[in-house]
Subunit: 301 residues, 2 copies
């Protein structure tokens, strides 16, 4: 059993109503790993340039994140800059510098190929497919994407879906991909393309999980203030997949519900700080405390 994430590692500059953060640690793989590591070791595949802070690699390792699969190459690390308005939902991209990410062709270390739980974070769907082919016999494959790939390579996104168990996507992107007007119709259309479960991420409103015969709609953990929503979705996915991994579960509906509550807990910590600063600072007792709060909240008697 092992848990593997493939995704971006970045230096993010963000501007939110709470302030600015310049070149903080970011990227889907990092958020996912710092979230999922609460449930067991995580193998990380990504790429960074020479300028990526070495100290952060040590911090990942101290949290049971294996970075053997993190390529370190000549050049600059992927950079992204975005602005959030008062609603703190979708960011407006100011600039994207792919840098070393442009030449990213993930090749899994031999020791990663027996992964049972695989998260294909938001990267080029062709790379996602290629990584998936390198894993011997994954038990649970989850996958994320974004509007950029839906617009530029929709057929590649759709081609990947029959090989995916759990497809995570935000509400706007689900509608864009499916060309349907409501989240339920969007989820049903995406299910026809292959995945067993679709999880539509709805930011501050929570998540909606749909399979062919069941629905679960859950709330986000309510916060008085949000500092930086970047990484919420990947931290959420880390909770979902981390929990399935810890429970040695396949695509089990009951486990997925609990995984979603862990995901909501972890995402709430991620967005209370800029970059990964707050997500990185918490221990499992804190994660469990917000999970327990959500469990008690949902109980009707």
């Amino acid at each position: 059993m092992s848990l593997l994430v493939v995704g971006s590692t970045a230096l993010d500059t963000v501007h939110t109503p709470s302030g600015d953060s310049v070149e903080g640690i970011g990227g889907s793989a990092n958020y996912f790993a710092l979230s999922a590591c609460h449930f067991g070791p995580v193998n990380l595949v990504g790429i960074v340039g020479e300028d990526f802070p070495k100290t952060f690699l040590g911090r990942l390792q101290s949290r049971k994140v294996d970075t053997t699969g993190l390529q370190q190459v000549r050049g600059q690390t992927f950079r992204w800059e975005g602005v959030y308005d008062d609603n703190l939902t979708d960011a407006k991209t100011v600039s994207t510098c792919l840098n070393v990410f442009e030449g990213f062709h993930p090749k899994l270390p031999a020791s990663y190929r027996n992964a049972t739980h695989l998260f294909l974070a938001n990267i080029d769907p062709e790379l996602q497919a290629d990584v998936l082919s390198q894993v011997e016999r994954p038990q649970v494959v989850a996958c994320d994407t974004m509007n950029y790939w839906i617009q530029s390579k929709k057929n590649k996104v759709v081609e990947l879906l029959p090989r995916v168990d759990i497809f995570l996507v935000n509400e706007t992107e689900a509608k864009l991909l499916s060309e349907e007007a409501t989240p339920y119709r969007a989820a049903m259309k995406i299910l026809e393309w292959g995945p067993r479960v679709v999880i539509i991420k709805r930011g501050p409103y929570g998540a909606l999980m749909v399979s062919r015969n069941a629905v679960f709609s859950s709330s986000a953990y309510l916060l008085a203030d949000v500092k930086d929503p970047t990484g919420a979705g990947d931290s959420f996915a880390g909770g979902v997949m981390g929990y399935l991994y810890r429970e040695r579960c396949g695509v089990d509906w009951g486990a997925l519900k609990k995984g979603i509550l862990f995901g909501a807990s972890l995402a709430s910590f991620a967005i209370e700080g800029f970059s990964v600063e707050h997500l990185e600072s918490i221990d499992f007792t804190q994660v469990l405390s917000r999970y327990d709060f959500l469990v008690k909240m949902l109980a009707l008697s």
Copy 2:
């Protein structure tokens, strides 16, 4: 024990992506009554003109809605016309003709004054206060409002709140009233003004209920298609208050949670048809079926 609603009775013209509906039965009191009547008799206070369809009064009465308090006066009934865009959330008002509603000074029939459960639907906050004063000893007072009153008579809305147990308001209006950026901060600020519970209605995302020491965030009942969102909030309130009334409850947190799920069930029926057509056509078995669905959905084991 009795359940009383005071609010508007209207003829609504709406335009949605599903089509148009011209001068259909509308108004907060009607939606509330047709929803709450599943739990017991409802006393309705409102005003209509000579042009209001008499047949509808009979239909209300057949559903255990007492219309002794519905004033029928010379002139035209209140009319509202609105347009919903593809998101089916907030309507853009095309026109409002107050007509007889302008002279509405609700005076409760003697038989209504012993109401235990009172819903002050969205009308002028000064009228809401006046109605409240006419009720001898209400056990649960719930109240709604809208941006128009928040902008034009904010002090009157705030003055009313210490006399209210449950304040229902949509998310945009909660932020407008409280001048806070997040729903949680908005709810906490409004609680300081007096009500024991604030329920923030979030349309397709459900509702958020906050008291001084507890939070409950619930989902809407997921629909493939929505025809006309008008009346969703009042139908929802009808479920909440109807359930409290049936259970002979005061402001009980556990009962409120279940009431919110009944509210979600009823609101989902209301928005599946134009005007009150679909809400009016359902029986309690159908209401219970969607309630049960939500209860099972929330169960974690």
